[in-house]
Symmetry: C2
Subunit: 106 residues, 2 copies
């Protein structure tokens, strides 16, 4: 997994919107996705290419259509390998705060 590609892909609001759309209904065509976007089809294609490069989206051709499927695995891996570390810090900060408050009670 290329974490950098995943983070870069998530860094753009249009691409996050695309993932949201696919989360609502998986397997949509390019045209379907474009209906919800307000930009040229070619621009949407470029965004989808980046999502595909980050392995966040997989595609299948069906006749003249291209179907897009979301792949949540890289998102999960990024969370496990990177975000979780800060989660621990967050909890320990909460713990420290609690200790401090308890200390003030006495």
């Amino acid at each position: 997994m290329d974490a950098d590609k995943v983070f870069k892909a998530l860094g753009d609001p249009t691409r996050r919107r695309l993932l949201d759309l696919l989360c609502e209904q998986n397997g949509q065509t390019l045209s379907q996705l474009c209906e919800n976007l307000d930009m040229a089809r070619q621009s949407a294609t470029q965004h989808l290419d980046l999502l595909e490069a980050a392995n966040l989206v997989s595609t299948v051709k069906r006749g003249r259509e291209k179907l897009h499927f979301i792949n949540p695995v890289p998102l999960h891996e990024v969370y496990e390998r990177w975000v979780r570390k800060f989660e621990r810090q967050r909890l320990s900060l909460l713990h420290d705060l609690k200790q401090e408050l308890e200390g003030e009670d006495q």
Copy 2:
């Protein structure tokens, strides 16, 4: 919380490295952080400004020094509000896969 600023901030490897460094040792000065970066101090400042704008880092001035503290809360909020949704999808895909495999056994 401005999710866009958070995602944008995380989209750059230097800024993720800065968060990593602060996770190892919180409250570092600008100079300390720069020792681990391999770019001009002024460039690091710009990255830290973005992290601060995204509320991922807070700073305190101590004399002529500027101390940087990590704030894991926005990261947690982004996870809760955005990533978790795809987590559910991931689990349901695993569930579907399991169903399918069990079906093939018969």
